[in-house]
């Protein structure tokens, strides 16, 4: 995440809000400023939304990068379906993007519609409980905290990546130019997808060339001029939680959103407490992607709008759907590499050393009040003891320890 997310030190007041909101203990306050432990971060963006000083800065790509491409394509995120109530409004957002200089705009409804067919085929051919791979943060959570559950992860690539693969082929056909001359940009609704472009998961390189933040480019959706869109009705639901529950009527899909809730559900799966479930549809954001951290609509208004859009959309764009279907190979749907465990929590790669550290952590912990007040700048007394052993902090940074002395 280096150089991708930064903390403005002149804005950060070291208040500990972001640290306490982080689900993976990836933040510390050091010298009164927030600081990230990259290896523990799962890109949920909770820190950014919980910062009341706008201290977090995300470095998206520069528009100048686009100049080198002959054809500029924008892929809009699924979350966009929660920001428009009908196709005309969607066309309005497309128009904003054309004005920025993009030649083509695509959304991901068609991709998700086709992907769901693949997912269903896959899950009903096995007796495992699978975890949906729409959200990169969920994949990171599993890599970091539940590596044994990687075998429950679906093998399918993220929707925007599948989209980029097929859209590149289609645009190259349409303009009769080589694929390298096409620049594909993703207008990301969240930190998670943003980082997944920059630090690809389950593949060598992303299929996206540049990535921008949705709310940097689009501040409002008031322009209602119709432009042509390529909406596929059956894919609209995938912008929010419950889409798979909606299409699979067998009552064997478990839907969960919000990273802390997802964590608990994964804990249940880990303990073999979940069976008779074919698919766990898990999203880091409350509400699913319509709740993404860079959207411009309240999550619950967005859920309502997405239903409106679904109602108001007359038909599928069958022509586009067929074009996608023809151009997509089976492999295009899949991660090209295995998703590996992350062992970032491991204290050392030697058991004696690990135990030694653990025992030091324990001794320090015994001197601490164990009230997890966070004033030391670590998210819990245990994390503080770890930090002392790892020499990130010194014991007198504990306010109680100081007082007792």
């Amino acid at each position: 995440m280096k150089h991708l997310v930064d903390i403005h030190s002149e804005r950060c007041i070291g208040c500990t809000r972001c640290m306490r909101a982080c689900p993976t203990e990836a933040i510390r306050i050091i010298n009164n400023k927030a600081s990230l432990i990259q290896d523990h971060c799962i890109y949920c963006g909770n820190c950014i939304i919980n910062c009341h000083k706008s201290a977090y800065k995300v470095y998206s790509d520069s528009f100048a990068n686009l100049n080198k491409y002959q054809i500029k394509v924008a892929i809009v995120p699924l979350a966009i379906f929660g920001m428009v109530a009908d196709e005309a409004e969607l066309g309005g957002i497309y128009k904003i993007l054309y004005n920025y200089g993009f030649d083509e705009v695509f959304d991901l409804s068609g991709i998700c519609s086709l992907l769901s067919e693949k997912v269903n085929e896959y899950i009903y051919n096995s007796d495992k409980t699978y975890i949906l791979t729409h959200c990169p943060t969920i994949v990171r959570l599993i890599q970091l905290k539940y590596p044994i559950l990687l075998e429950n992860l679906l093998p399918f690539d993220f929707p925007f990546e599948i989209g980029a693969k097929v859209i590149r082929k289609i645009v190259s056909d349409k303009y009769q130019i080589s694929e390298a001359k096409i620049g594909i940009s993703y207008i990301s609704e969240c930190l998670s997808n943003f980082i997944a472009v920059k630090e690809p998961l389950g593949k060598q390189g992303s299929n996206i060339d540049n990535v921008f933040l949705f709310n940097d480019l689009i501040r409002n959706n008031l322009d209602k001029k119709t432009g042509l869109t390529n909406l596929v009705k059956s894919g609209v639901h995938f912008c929010q939680t419950g889409a798979y529950q909606h299409i699979n009527k067998n009552n064997d899909v478990l839907t969960v959103d919000g990273i802390k809730q997802v964590d608990e559900v994964m804990e249940n799966l880990y303990l073999n407490k979940i069976n008779a479930v074919k698919l766990i549809e898990a999203y880091s954001c409350v509400g699913g992607c319509v709740g993404g951290n860079f959207t411009i609509e309240n999550t619950f208004v967005a859920k309502w709008k997405a239903s409106q859009l679904f109602e108001h959309t007359k038909t599928n764009d069958d022509e586009l759907l067929n074009q996608y279907r023809k151009s997509l190979t089976d492999n295009d749907y899949l991660f090209s590499e295995l998703v590996n465990p992350l062992s970032s929590y491991q204290l050392s790669d030697n058991i004696k050393q690990s135990l030694n550290k653990m025992s030091k952590i324990n001794q320090i912990l015994k001197q601490l009040p164990n009230i997890d007040c966070c004033a030391c700048g670590s998210p819990s007394c245990h994390a503080f003891a770890e930090d002392v052993v790892n020499k990130v902090k010194t014991i007198d940074e504990c306010h109680f320890f100081r007082k007792e002395k």
């Binding site: 905290k145 590596p147 044994i148 804990e267 880990y270 303990l271 073999n272 407490k273 465990p341 062992s343 929590y345 491991q346 204290l347 050392s348 790669d349 058991i351 004696k352 690990s354 135990l355 030694n356 653990m358 025992s359 324990n362 770890e386």
Partner: protein, 143 residues
């Protein structure tokens, strides 16, 4: 050198049930055992923790780790298990209807614990039940 963690477990405290085993999981991952090995221990810890919550008057879970073995002990304050052989058989449960509705009471906890550890001991009287499980640490259990 060994490390010991104690977790207080309260009777009928379904709200916090599972916290002890979750912490145990975190510590075992920090030490760096293999994922399969950790899962066995955590599943046992969870079953032991739930048995204290559901069937006992409260107690504690203790885990001791050194570089040769891991010992997990669950001790509670009663009322004890009347027929140990029966309690250890698959499918036997005295869980109430209300408990079953929460998804417990399949009578698989103790049998699963026995299956997932290397050494298993259980002792029970009206004063309390002690379940002791242990695992050997070999090179292949450390990643």
């Amino acid at each position: 050198m060994d490390i010991t963690y104690d977790f207080e477990v309260y009777a009928n405290d379904y709200q916090n049930a599972g916290n002890a085993s979750s912490e145990i999981k975190k510590y075992l991952m920090q030490i760096g055992f293999t994922t399969k090995f950790i899962r066995k221990i955590v599943i046992c810890a969870y079953e032991a923790e739930m048995n204290i919550v559901i069937h006992s008057l409260g107690g504690k879970l203790t885990i001791t780790i050194d570089n040769k073995k891991i010992i997990l002990t669950s001790t509670d304050k009663g009322p004890g298990i009347k027929d140990l052989d029966l309690a250890l058989s698959e499918g036997y449960s005295t869980a109430t209807e209300a408990v079953r509705e929460m998804g417990f009471g399949a009578g698989m906890g103790l049998p699963n614990m026995k299956k997932n550890c290397k050494f298993f001991e259980i002792d029970s009287s009206s004063k309390g039940t002690i379940v002791k499980l242990s695992w050997e640490i070999k090179d292949e259990t450390f990643s």
